[in-house]
Amino acid sequence: MQSVSRFEASLLRLLWYFLHRVPPDRALPLLENRCTAPTCLHRNAVNLVQDALGKGCVLLLARRGGWRRERFLSGERGGTGVSPVKEGRLWERTPPADLGLSFSAHTLRFLIWITANRPGDSDRAWSVPEEELTLGDRLLLYFAHEGLRNVAEGLGAPKLRTEQPFVQHALCWLAFPEDYTAAPIGARPNFAPWTNGAGACMLEALQPELARRWIEVESNKERLVDPQTMRVLGLAQERVLTSFLDAVEREGRMDLARFLLQAAAVLLGPHAHTGMWTARLNMTGQRVADRAATYQAATIFLRTLDRLQTWERRARGVGYFDEGYAATQLWKADWEQVQGDVLTERARAIVQALDPMRQV
């Protein structure tokens, strides 16, 4: 039995909450509480933190999608310089040695800070440049963001998202675009760590979760009443989608955008209609320009399918010996599996029906 101080016990409990090992009601009192942080942690506590991080993060990734047998581009280059497609579970597609996560002192400092303060405490804010974080740090912060948004909205969690490093945390932004409506205008999510190496492997594992989240965000639009709320949500979505698709295109990892196709397949069934995105919007007294901007924001996800279709069209022209053949063929297969052309036509019909010039 290893003994720890009361502060360290609280820290560990919060960490276990972020790693989904304790329920929210045991974490909330700790988040509400403020206390003095010790000057350092005992070796026991650090060992327990290391153990929790090493096992907990991996377990969560495996449970959320790493266990699935999927086809993704391999990160390695074959003899022809072409990335092959590999099929299997996450640790079968990529050697476990390449999936290693490292955590820096920033993780420990964050855990100490969140235990001692409330998320919204600005006089003792925790802020680290996003580029200083390791992949492990970023993953832990992703789980922390998920945990905080569930219980700590009233404790200042939204404020945390407008500051470094959360404001640039691309995975948080991608999974929870509705949390970034207040992000500063110049803020851009940093997708570089997530589109190659172990970061891309994590995105592979989180595909089902990302699909589920985007289905949830789009489905919730039906309940939105205030046009301004819709506009800021659409803007946040547009920012993250643009950054994400630019990044995956640059790296030749279009397969990482598969979750968008999966979400579209659910949202755009044969009976999809405009009301699913705009049913409750109160447009009384709105200018035509504002109405158009609101509908554009509501349909940002639908309009993204045009770009994804462009990838598929481009893939048709890539030859066997061309660079990126495996990537384009994989994208074509994904596209055909969800009947991407049919989905795009349905999306276009909805977007056109909401064009103010066609509504009069």
Binding site: G285, R287, V288, D355, P356, M357
Partner: protein
Amino acid sequence: MSRAYRVTVRESQNRVIRAEDHVSTRLEILEVLPPEQMAGLLADELERRGFERHGTRLVRQQDGVTISVETTTGTVTVAAEASEEAAIQAERTDRAYDDVGPHAKVVRENLKKQLEKDIEKKVGEKTASLQTKVTDRLEGELSDVRQELDQAVNRVTAEALKRKAAQMGQIKEMTEDPQAGSLTIVVEV
């Protein structure tokens, strides 16, 4: 002791009220010919319909509405704006202990602050009213503009098809039914 003196403050301002509204969309033009040629055909068709050329942009004004088409991208912007000069008046009354003394001065200052708010509120109401008129005017034109541009695009497409057919071979027969919107070209290749 009752406050015996009535203090009244009046304010009158001339304000210019402005309102504007606009909407943009893109024309769906098939690339039967290279983009520059399609843009040229579109520009010619729009000129025939009373648009004025400003480089690659064609503009027409009608009934207080400006229609602008960027031929290279097919972007259409329909805009309406209006402005009017309005005389805004407001008055507020209160009571003070004295006529021209310190209390009356304080009361007058407070009334002036309230008057500013009253005037801003009236300006806001007039702006909203003008905005409603501008938006209604724009909406009234949108349907006709849309139909007209759809017709223009159809004519441009038909013309492009004729030219394309002529490039491919000898046109043996050409039948056009404007009412049905159909064009049949028989080409000997």
